[in-house]
């Protein structure tokens, strides 16, 4: 599932690329007057072009990196996982527009905010998971701006005194940080603040605007990192990691792909050999003038937009220009950020402490309780899964944790546990390798079936017990690998018989062939291709043995031929008995 997912992701981006003017292929291919080029050749050339373009881009990036230092800070808005709104007793559960709205949400005259304590729990989980100092006293402020999706004319947020400060997030190589950042980089988090979401507005030009206030005042957390990121890849990795942390701690359910998470980045560059820049942000000084890119909606957009903005800024500076402090936007598939508004058009939000809302006082008892019930962090899980107990590869451990909101990992644990019971009689070495084997079956075999049938994850499709039994049979060599895959597919398709019964009734248990039967089978396939036999003998082309093994598997009785044994017999017959 994961691998095909990734593959699908790549395909999607590739299919977008031809629309991209900078990457457009030589015009010849698309002009009808030109001679037709065979499709295969065209595809080859396109691939070659892409490769060389990528290589060139990589070299350019490296050259500019040597000369220019990029600095990036990230701001993430994430919808908290709660049905309550931040300041009204309305719940946000229905999809019918304007059905979950209290009078306060619509800013009716005479209404007042009523803080909903339930919204605090997911916010605090996120703050703890991001290693923040929770503030015993925090306050709410009004951020003013006029827009029809903001009924009161201001958003209630925590500007002067946020509820959490001074956290950090550690990014590791496996999180996809840039190679130049080494094995690990720590990004400090300036603060987390609680704030209200806005309404959804839909424009129907020229004269109609529809507003749905269901989302108004749904609680968000805003996570603000320090400007400590110096590569686009690490910025994307940081956003991905922050999303995975706030999701795994139960603070947030809807990720970026569904709009539950929105990202702004601020970007500045400075020449490495020049004097320190004039600007300072969040207490970090010596930086160049920064710009802000608003509303990035995917990890890839984060990376691409930063690259584009960095290159734009370098271009401006190299041609003697000056960077304006401005707000810019990014369209997916584009190569350039575009200016939304300059400093002169900057909104003065006139932050004012909300005179109706008392300070938020958070007690140590609540924090202690949340601390003790917080789920294990993704990093600790990875350490556990790649450790001696499970021995998974990083590449398997990560998707196992991330897939299906942790349900896949839970399933993995169920299978491992069941298998441990079944294998209680086995030696420690065998049992130590079980994790890796289960990981492979849960992710790749079962995952492959899910992808092929386009079904969503459900732990009941193949009960954990059944998979454990199947792996147990395989591990004890009572069935072959292909048989195990076949049975898995049968169960996947709804066969509810116990594994042992399926093996019995379908006659799938391995009845090992006798040596005589192997020899006879080997001789029959050797007769099919004497020339190849000769090549193997004279040129020692052992690779060609595989073809004969395959033939034996195919012609032999289904589920009885074991590949290693077949190869052993073939070697003996072709090259003579091993000495």
């Amino acid at each position: 599932m994961l691998r095909s997912c990734l593959r699908r992701g790549t395909l999607r981006t590739l299919s977008v690329r031809p629309l991209n003017p900078a990457l457009s292929f030589p015009r010849a291919y698309s002009t009808p007057t030109q001679e037709r080029v065979p499709l295969r050749k065209q595809l080859k050339q396109e691939a070659k072009f892409l490769r060389s373009h990528k290589k060139q881009r990589k070299e350019d990036e490296e050259a500019s990196r040597q000369e220019w230092e990029l600095t990036v800070g990230v701001e993430i808005h994430a919808q908290l996982d709660t049905e309550a709104k931040l300041f009204s007793p309305a719940t946000s559960t229905s999809d019918i527009p304007n059905s979950n709205v209290a009078l306060f949400d619509l800013a009716f005259p005479g209404t007042q905010p009523e803080f909903q304590i339930a919204t605090l729990l997911p916010a605090l989980r996120a703050a703890i998971a991001l290693n923040c100092e929770i503030q015993p006293v925090s306050r709410f402020d009004r951020k003013h701006y006029f827009y029809q999706d903001q009924p009161s004319g201001y958003q209630i947020t925590q500007y002067y005194e946020p509820f959490a400060r001074n956290g950090y997030v550690d990014l590791y190589a496996y999180d996809g940080i840039a190679p130049e950042d080494g094995d690990r980089v720590r990004i400090d988090i300036k603060q987390l603040q609680l704030e209200q979401d806005t309404a959804k507005s839909q424009e129907y030009p020229p004269t109609t605007q529809l507003l749905d206030f269901n989302r108004v005042s749904h609680p968000l957390i805003e996570i603000i990192t320090m400007p400590q990121i110096h590569t686009p890849a690490t910025a994307a990795a940081c956003v991905r990691k922050l999303q995975s942390i706030v999701q795994s701690c139960g603070a947030v359910t809807t990720g970026m792909e569904l709009g539950g998470l929105r990202v702004d980045v601020n970007v500045s560059v400075r020449r490495r050999d020049a004097a320190a820049g004039q600007h300072h942000y969040n207490g970090i000084s010596g930086l160049g003038q920064r710009t802000e890119i608003k509303n990035l909606s995917s990890f890839k957009a984060v990376e691409d937009a930063i690259i584009a903005e960095k290159n734009r800024q370098i271009g401006v500076l190299e041609s003697g220009g000056v960077i304006e402090g401005e707000t810019r936007g990014w369209t997916i598939g584009s190569t350039e950020t575009r200016r939304l508004r300059g400093k002169e058009g900057d909104v003065d939000y006139r932050y004012m402490p909300d005179p109706d809302i008392p300070p938020l006082i958070i007690g140590q008892d609540l924090l202690a309780n949340l601390n003790s019930t917080l789920p294990t962090s993704p990093d600790s899980l990875i350490t556990l899964l790649v450790g001696a107990e499970h021995r998974l590869s990083i590449d398997d451990a990560k998707p196992l944790i991330e897939l299906d909101d942790g349900a896949r990992l839970e399933y993995y644990h169920d299978v491992v546990e069941a298998l441990h019971t079944l294998q209680a009689d086995q030696d420690t070495a065998t049992r130590a390798s079980l994790g890796r084997s289960v990981g492979n079956w849960v992710l790749h075999e079962l995952g492959g079936l899910l992808t092929k049938s386009d079904r969503a994850w459900d732990a009941e499709i193949v009960p954990a017990q059944s998979l454990a039994h199947l792996i147990d049979e395989l591990q004890r060599k009572r069935i072959t690998g292909p048989t195990a895959k076949l049975v898995l597919a049968t169960i996947f398709d709804g066969d509810r018989r116990p594994v042992s019964q399926i093996l019995e009734e379908e006659n799938l248990l391995l009845r090992p062939l006798s040596r005589e039967e192997y020899v006879a089978l080997a001789q029959s396939v050797m007769a099919l291709n004497p020339q190849m036999i000769e090549q193997i003998r004279s040129k020692n082309q052992l690779g060609k043995l595989g073809w004969f093994v395959g033939q034996m598997m195919r012609t032999g009785e289904k589920g009885r031929v074991e590949a290693p044994k077949a190869e052993e017999i073939l070697k003996e017959l072709i090259l003579g008995p091993a000495v």
Partner: protein, 499 residues
């Protein structure tokens, strides 16, 4: 007189005396008649629901009522009816009272003469010697006029910087602003939340007290409503023997702030103040000169904080979800244009626009430190000034010193306004443009108690003038939570003719 006859006479007065006190008067016939008749029956049986059972109480038109419109005297809410009742309205109705209509005011409470109204100015039922119409004071001028003209039994107003006390002083009624946080603001349209207080206007302090006792309860829907626990703390601190003995076994110590002797004060007001003090002294109470040094900054502080909060609170009026929209498409037709520039431009009156602009400026990034933040600091100093002179310590202060100094006082007595009500014709005369600051000065005595959240009452006293008797409002200010003492002292002066 039966409750019904009294109520009918009030309603008749609403229609016969046109002081423009009401934006929405009570309909002559309606379901309210039955409710008053039922109250009469309860009265006869000796089982009234409360002291106001069957009484007509008018409600300022910035307090939400489900059955009558709530316009705030603004064009932008000209036809608006709230979908819910303010808590204070629910409480009064539960006590058997009838809402006697919605009274006129300065738009959203911004003004001191009740002339900034979409529905025209309120006229004071009192006229001057030459028969000219006078200002009823503001912003609860309609409420005060409706009480003075016997168009209701009592009235609910709101007091942000003196909006109940000043109209009471101008119309010769009693106007009480309780301690901030005692009466629920749920359903009270915000002007400046940190200062807004529901106030009560009546013919006598006794009437006002009855209503206050009904409304003085915690409301979970108002986040600034004092909790039950805080109310207990106040009661506990008032149970100190030194405080319970006041007016019973020990005479009062009355404070007179030297800073309140401002040059704008007219001679009749000065006389009323002096005679009031003399009257109390005659009864055995002692008068003490006190200093409230930060008073001189209080007015400017108020006119920074009030507009700042107003600019924020009034941002919601855009005609999108409720309220009046400007004719035709709004937003200059540009795709990113604001959809309600014209709506707000047409909906708000001059004074509201002035204060929104002022508040927008004082909150802006370049001005906030010098104006809004500075004003908050001064506000704290004003509160400390008061804390320093009262015998009773602030019951909710974190670190009370508990030490009573020799010159501490129980209440402060001062005028409500520096002068008598101006003529409406002078205020409305466009040929004599006046600086808005002139109007702001009338709030000089009322604003300090608002900034500190203290209880204050204005009661009418009469003194002999050069030609005729002159009426003035005298104000009693007490420590936070000392509301009942303030009313008792007010009662000692209320309606007195002093010479």
């Amino acid at each position: 007189m039966s409750l019904l006859r009294e109520a009918e006479r009030c309603v008749a007065n609403q229609y016969s005396h046109n002081f423009n006190a009401f934006i929405t008067p009570l309909a002559r016939a309606g379901q309210w008649l039955d409710r008053v008749r039922e109250a009469d029956e309860r009265q006869e049986q000796g089982t009234p629901k409360s002291a106001v059972d069957g009484r007509l109480i008018s409600v300022k038109d910035n307090i939400c009522t489900r059955d009558l419109p709530t316009t705030c005297a603004s064009g932008i809410l000209e036809k608006y009816t709230s979908p819910f009742n303010a808590t204070v309205v629910d409480r009064l109705e539960a006590a058997g009272a009838v809402v006697a209509g919605k009274t006129n005011l300065d738009e959203f409470g911004m003004g001191s003469n009740s002339i900034n109204s979409r529905f025209g100015p309120v006229k004071n039922p009192r006229r001057d010697a030459s028969g000219e119409f006078l200002s009823a004071g503001g912003s609860s001028g309609g409420s005060a006029a409706s009480v003075a003209a016997d168009q209701c039994y009592a009235s609910l107003g709101t007091d942000t910087g003196g909006s109940v006390r000043l109209p009471a002083a101008y119309t010769g009624t009693v106007g009480f602003k309780p301690s901030y946080g005692l009466i629920s603001r749920w359903g009270v349209v915000a002007y400046a939340n940190s200062l807004d207080t529901v106030g009560i206007l009546g013919k006598s302090t006794a009437n006002v007290r009855d209503i206050f006792d009904i409304l003085n309860e915690h409301d979970h829907r108002d986040p600034t409503s004092l909790s039950v626990f805080s109310r207990e703390r106040i009661q506990h601190s008032l149970h100190n023997p030194q405080l319970t003995s006041r007016l019973k076994s020990t005479p009062l110590r009355i404070g007179v702030p030297v800073e309140y002797n401002v040059s704008e004060m007219t001679s009749s007001v000065r006389r009323a103040w002096a005679h009031s003090l003399a009257h109390l002294k005659k009864q055995g109470h002692t008068i003490h000169s006190i200093s409230l040094p930060d008073t001189k900054h209080a007015l400017s502080t108020y006119y920074v904080l009030g507009p700042a909060e107003a600019s924020s609170n009034l941002a919601k009026y855009d005609g999108v979800r409720y309220g009046t929209r400007a004719e035709g498409p709004d937003g200059d037709g540009r795709p990113d244009g604001y959809l309600y520039a014209n709506t707000r431009g047409e909906g708000f009156g001059q004074e509201v626009k002035r204060r929104i602009t002022l508040g927008t400026f004082s909150l802006s990034a370049n001005a906030i430190d010098n104006y809004f933040i500075q004003a908050q600091r001064v506000r704290r100093l004003v509160q400390k000034d008061f804390d320093a002179v009262f015998t009773a310590k602030h019951p909710l202060a974190a670190h009370g010193t508990g030490i009573t100094k020799d010159n501490d006082v129980d209440v402060i007595i001062c005028p409500t306004a520096p002068s008598s009500p101006p003529r409406l014709s002078d205020l409305m005369d466009k040929s004599k443009p006046k600086s808005p600051l002139e109007g702001y000065v009338t709030d000089v005595y009322t604003v300090p108690a608002s900034l500190a959240g203290l209880p204050a009452i204005s009661v009418p006293v009469t003194v002999s003038g050069e030609q005729e008797a002159e009426l003035a409002g005298i104000q009693v200010i007490g420590q936070y939570g000392d509301d009942h003492l303030v009313m008792k002292v007010g009662e000692m002066l209320e309606g007195k003719h002093l010479d």
